[in-house]
Amino acid sequence: MIRFDYVRPTSVPDAVKALAAKPGAQVIAGGTNLVDLLKYDVAKPSRLIDINRLPLRAIEDTADGGLKLGALVTNADAAYDVRVAQRFPLLASAILAGASAQLRNAATTGGNLLQRTRCLYFYDPHVPCNKREPGTGCPARTGVNRNLAVLGTSEHCIATHPSDMCVALAALNAVVHVTGPAGERQIALSDFHRVPGDRPDLDNTLERGELITAVEVPFSDFGRHYTYLKLRDRLSYAFALVSVAAAVRLDAGRIDELRVALGGVAPKPWRNLEAEGLLAGAAPERRAYEAFADRLLAGAQGFGDNDFKLGLARRAIVRALTQAVAGTPQSQSDKRVA
């Protein structure tokens, strides 16, 4: 681990100032990803800005009936909050599908958005990796890529964003609130993470020196017609190979509104608004789900180890839509797939 110093501001303006004051300064929240990256010498901050004393731990009601989660609300506090569980069970379910109880107690809302990929090469500073060291190459394309992306990749990087929470947030049209040297702004969650293109080192659209202060989830009313279906190598405490966040509103026996985001298959939660729109008005039946899955997966390409994700994702989408329409969301403790 490299050497760094440490400061502990108590207000957002002070934290933003501290972040700007020293090149290489980096924020630490729950530490569950950053401390790991420090140990591998992948993260090399000059200074850690401990934001745990900032007043960002509240979950607040918004005027439209939605909720605003402070950046320091832990994943456990978010998932078990009564308002989150009642209004956004899809979000609670996705959070509880991730990591372990210990990690969820420490991991924060802001940190979850900014966790880095789980590509093996990214974690090993002795091998090339365009995301870690731009221009060195991407050994994953022809190497070990079982857990990597099939959508949104570029010749420079095929990493996935590993979060479960963000997949639900994408389906729920969440908005990220940030504060930086230039003031405050809001970024739609769907615009927050980026595809690698020729800049795989940039995971997201946060500007240098910006701090996440909250994530806002606007009102929605899908009731029980949602599911978070996560498929992985073991039943718990493992990252998604493929996950699907689905929410449906039915009207007179037809699909009125549909939202589907995929996890584990792309550098960002993967949605296709046009494909969702095409399903509006359709009868909720398997053939329609399959056609939707084919549209959502259009252009998907495997790299060897991860070829299986194409078929798995298609089946998972169909299964998730079936669960959501039936109002039988996937349980996160009884893992049998309904």
Partner: protein, 177 residues
């Protein structure tokens, strides 16, 4: 006393106040020292185990202000002013123990919930946290919410039995030794 790195590598040290198993500690640490290394190397509390050192096994589970967390992914400086309970302190969490063991410790013995014992301190701290959280209402939920603790010996079914029994009955039950 916390061991210091050699002078050429030594950065600034930071003063941290911790209540560990009820006793106040005032220590100086470098900012990159994890809570796990502070407990084990700095304070000689070796009950908490280092399995993977990367958040992947749960052997290092301790209670931070009563909440279970992985001590290997927590920098000690960030724990200033907080209370930590390790396996050395869990018995004193239960006034009924009367100087004896915590009901979970009894239950682990009654149910033969370990073989080598390496994962056990983390399992027990995790189970204390699980019970305090109050989100497990069935043995299946115990298994799911204990998934952050791996056991290389595969004592899982007995671990789940032990935790479920304490959760349900509040005691180690009559398996009694």
């Amino acid at each position: 006393m916390l061991q210091r790195t050699d002078a050429s590598q030594r950065g600034e040290l930071y003063r941290v106040k911790l209540a560990i198993n009820g006793a106040p500690h005032d220590v100086e640490v470098a900012p990159w020292v994890t809570l796990l290394d502070l407990l084990r190397e700095g304070l000689g509390l070796t009950g908490t185990k280092k399995g993977c050192d990367h958040g992947q096994c749960g052997a290092c589970t301790v209670l931070l202000d009563g909440m279970r967390v992985n001590a290997c992914l927590l920098l000690a400086v960030t724990c200033d002013d907080r209370a930590i309970t390790t396996i050395e302190g869990v018995a004193s969490l239960e006034p009924t123990a009367g100087g004896g063991l915590h009901p979970l410790q009894d239950a682990f013995m009654d149910h033969d919930a370990f073989q080598c014992g390496y994962c056990t301190p983390g399992q027990i701290c995790s189970a204390v946290g699980l019970i305090a959280e109050g989100h497990a209402h069935s043995r299946d939920e115990v298994r799911e919410l204990m998934s952050g603790n791996l056991c290389r010996c595969g004592a899982y079914s007995n671990i789940a039995d032990a935790v479920w029994q304490v959760l349900r009955d509040g005691t180690a039950g009559e398996g009694g030794r």
